[in-house]
Amino acid sequence: MPKDDGFPPRPAGPPRIALVGNPNCGKTALFNALTGARQKVANYAGVTVERKEGLFVSPGGTRVKVIDLPGTYSLRARSPDEEVTRDVVLGRRADEEVPEAIVCVVDATRLRLNLRLVLEMKKLGRPVILALNMMDEAESQGIAVDAAELSAALGMPVVPTVAIRKDGIQPLLDQIDRTLQVAKSEGLAPKTAPCGWSEPSARDLRDYHLEVETILAQAVGRPSRPHLATRKIDSVLLQPAAGLAILLILLFLMFQAVFSWARLPMELIDGGLSAVKGAIDAGMADGPLKSLITDGIIGGVGSVVIFLPQILVLFLFIQILEDSGYMARAAFLLDKMMGGVGLHGRAFIPLLSSFACAVPGIMAARTIENRTDRIATIMIAPLMTCSARLPVYTLIIAAFIPQRQVLGGWVGLPGLVLFALYAAGILSGLLIAFILKRTVLTGAREPLLMELPAYRLPRPRNVLLGLYERARAFLVRAGTTIFALMVVIWALASFPAAPEGATLPAIDYSIAGMIGHFLEPLLAPIGFNWEIAVALVPGMAAREVAVGVLGTVYALSDSGDAMRNSLAGLLAHSWSLPTALSFLTWYVFAPQCIATLSVVRRELNSYWWPTAMFFGLTSLAYGASFATFRVASALIGE
């Protein structure tokens, strides 16, 4: 039974506190320390800003809800994320109750920059607790922060915390109890508390700054010094030549790991799915239900789930690079070069993620504040070859590209072709960004103005919690959106059923087959036959499904690698080389992935951009395939 906490606006639910702070202040680590795994991540309605909420029981026995708000330097919101932070603490969001208390998290080693936000929060007229985080680091750097003095100067309770130590948050927990107790006893209705905040002018900001200097002079015994180790590491990692070389090596290792580390788990998933499919095959009578389960659900959803290991390895790297503070350096190193095509240095992370899957990549573009910069990044994200295209590439390469050593025996021809396909995607993406930024998305780039945080060893606990959240989100999506799409596509490919005594594969008579035949004349100029046209239809749901569909169409019954090998042989016989090359080219640009288009719609809150993306990339794919097919045909003399 919910107990009465004495808060007039919401007598039911538990009291809530909000965590607010600068980026890189250890806010998320503190959130994890408070809530452990009892957290859930969702989206705020209307915007795709992550809403992280957790629950903990205070020492006094109160159940407390805690919201982790996006990091910000100011309540003057500059990005969708920061708008959420501002609107929640100001009580402007209809879907989020005003928090009973705000915990302002500051990095004790960088008080000068962090305290200004605290002064802004104080103006809100709500109970604020200051969490002096990373006190251990401050002490080891010789920074003597007097918490009592700071508390007196700021007029709010100040508690030192070390989010990464077990006992490091006890003082904060006790203070939360006291603050909530006071709020309760005063019967404070947070909604009616007077708010003295208004958007600060440059003059106000200068005043805040002077106030911070005064407070620092009072409360900090020894001035903070820059992090020496960080400076030493940066003198190597940010050195133009060596820094870029190290970045490239890191990226190379990351891609190697995505493919090599993920292989075993992917084989296990593949084997597991085949086993389940085999069991159902053996134990169930033939019929639509069996077909739905084996072909539609296991075949369709399974073909997406199999990429979970690759996505997790990629995110493991991204999370470690992020937590260690290296990501900001990568943006620094690449900013000028990316600027050559009009992209922001921060576009690097979304584009990198897009090599695993464009969906998380497009979501990662949220860190780009400027809308035109963000749109440009999102529009070219699908051109970074996602892992779903890899099965298609490897199938066609195995079928048509001979195992020959080129370039003096150093490189195998198949590997070179694969590299060329990746490069074609990257180069055309950069070219499109260049054109977009000079036509529809004009305007100078958003300023960089970014903090280079001190290097820190990533905490396994935070990395694992981050990975867990990614895996959960991915599986939920596979179990809902992709599941639904797969059922639809299965139905299209299965009905109407083949008539009695049919000689052609069943799919020939289905709606998908009809669509294939209908599309055939359109695709003939680029060398596609109707079987490819059929494969493109379910390829809309997930690109790699095209492999499975080609297998079905060519009337093979096996699954997994066995099928791929024999399918490769079959394709080598039934397709001409120009058709194969044209098909590969199509997949470099191929926009047909509904998940990507729907996430673009959600992220940009617009139907225009996904529509433009679909038609733009389709025409590009068509044009490039047409050119490839014609040139290859002419060269071969067919």
């Binding site: 920059l113 440059a202 010094r225 133009p240 100078a444 960089l448």
Partner: protein, 97 residues
């Protein structure tokens, strides 16, 4: 040295023109000296929010590539990366080259 002469001598020296290793003190913020698409007053406020405000001591720690852009600047206890285009809005008095 009198203040007026001091200012006159350093007139027009912006953070955007400094090289790696240079140390300076910020004397003024002048948005009009930078190229930006931000609304009037916005760049100035963002610079202040990142600690680039009058009186702050700065040191250029790192330079990007190519054309030594962007730059990483030590401001107080934080390191801030920014492009030279925006750094032009920060007027400084050189302390050490």
């Amino acid at each position: 040295m009198r203040t007026e002469t001091g200012l006159a001598m350093n007139a027009g020296v912006s953070l955007g023109a400094l090289r790696k290793g240079a140390q300076a003190e910020i004397v003024a913020l002048d948005e009009t000296a930078a190229t930006t698409t931000l609304d009037t007053g916005e760049l100035e406020r963002r610079l202040i929010e990142m600690g680039l405000v009058e009186g702050a001591r700065i040191e250029i720690l790192h330079e990007g590539f190519p054309r030594r852009d962007p730059i990483a600047v030590l401001v107080g206890d934080s390191t801030i990366a920014l492009r030279r285009a925006e750094a032009n809005a920060v007027m400084v008095r050189r302390l050490k080259d």
